[in-house]
Symmetry: C2
Subunit: 268 residues, 2 copies
């Protein structure tokens, strides 16, 4: 076996092993798990809501880039052979009428309760953080061992059927001289949020205080760094809340679905 | 007004004027009409089939890149202000039970018959043919004033719900020394079919005779030229036929929907 194949094999083994651990009950954030394997956000909705959501994703592709959609009632995905999307994520959130009802390590019962859930696996910016670091651009929340800061903006997503909501963005402080590089590098990964939606000027996004994110942790901003904003995979959860979707299952923030697909597959 | 704005204004005026002519009853192929304005394939399906189709498109993004989806029963699109998708295409096809029933210049009656049609506007390779020509790569069917040759392949699309079908490809002969350039240039336009799905070796796609395309016209292949295949927007029509969709409206091949969106908007 050549070196590249060996590396891919090792990556897939690590991804499989991680899913097995989570199926066994382990709870941990997935950042840094199975390096090189794409991680995905998940949102599962009753069949009756699936069209509205798929249309919402089509109309808001930067925040909701769809990597795969399961058949109604199925827990299989082409992104990971043998995986069970109802059990292989370390931590799930169950939503009722748009409100967080509980967090569970196994969503099997929730999937059985609904019967016809359709699961959407959505690109995650973890995929482009490795290329940023490889280009010598520090990713602050990784360097500091915290979660990426996320903010609810004043930008309405384009509605679809019964679904409405605001755009959620993640923020990474980037040295002014590297902002263009960060835009170029992440732009090569449109399936995982792509290029920034906004550079600088948080006030015009309706963000009053960068030190108080709506989700995740605040991060240091050093002198000479510009806050750069990317569309965020938490946007679908914001739509579930804003639209009072009767029932939904999602991953818990930072606890993603680890796929077998190499990050490189989403490089254009 | 600066030169770029003036050019965009002229393009939009030409697009509006073309749609007005087609609404008035003019029938003509749209190749070369309103240069710089993106043209789109259209397929309109009953609301009950919309989810299956949107999922089919998500699962087969190279052949079915969705640019916009109308609300059920609506004839408006964000791609062209004031346009009526049921009247502003020069020629429509009406499909019943997967069979071509008739061609009409005004689909208003068909839209009223169904009541809840959802229209999908799908990227068209016309958008990347201008950049190919600008790079000095002859686009044979344009040079010869014919329609692009299209072939039904032996490659099954990934099914979605009740929809199945084979991949349809368009073919352009490219000099061997320019194949890489053609792949790179078209790869920059993923929303309009993107890079080739296949280069050379038509037999392995199940194409027996390049001189006998399933749709469009055959074109000359000069010595030293390689047949290069791109996913084609006729793929959805093949799915309508193969899946015996009870009712559908589409554009007639070569008679596209002329939008107000500049081609450059789909350059990544």
């Amino acid at each position: 076996m050549n070196l590249v194949d060996a590396k891919l094999d090792e990556m897939r083994s690590a991804a499989r092993a991680a899913r097995a651990r989570y199926r066994g009950g382990l709870v941990e954030p997935t950042a840094g798990v199975a390096p090189g394997a794409t991680q995905a956000n998940m949102i599962s909705l009753p069949r009756d809501w699936a069209y509205d959501f798929l249309l919402y994703a089509q109309r808001n592709p930067k925040s909701c880039p769809v990597l795969d959609v399961t058949d109604a009632g199925s827990r299989s995905t082409v992104l990971a052979e043998g995986a069970d999307v109802a059990r292989d994520i370390p931590l799930y959130r169950i939503w009722r009428d748009g409100k967080l009802a509980e967090e569970v390590t196994d969503a099997g019962a929730a999937f059985e309760e609904a019967g016809d859930l359709v699961s959407f696996l959505i690109g995650c910016s973890f995929t482009f953080e490795t290329p940023l670091q490889e280009a010598g651009i520090e990713v602050r929340h990784i360097a500091d061992g915290s979660n990426v800061p996320m903010y609810l903006t004043n930008r309405a997503c384009r509605p679809a059927g019964r679904l409405t909501g605001q755009l959620v963005v993640s923020m990474r402080p980037i040295p002014a001289a590297r902002v263009a590089d960060a835009a170029t590098i992440t732009g090569r990964f449109p399936a995982v949020h792509g290029s920034p939606v906004h550079v600088g000027d948080p006030a015009s996004l309706g963000i009053r205080d960068l030190a108080r994110p709506d989700f995740g942790d605040a991060v240091r901003i050093e002198p000479g760094e510009i806050p750069v904003f990317w569309a965020c995979g938490v946007t679908p959860q914001a739509a579930v809340m804003a639209s009072r979707v009767p029932f939904a299952v999602t991953h818990a923030p930072g606890h993603m679905f680890v796929t077998d697909v190499p990050d490189a597959a989403y490089h254009v």
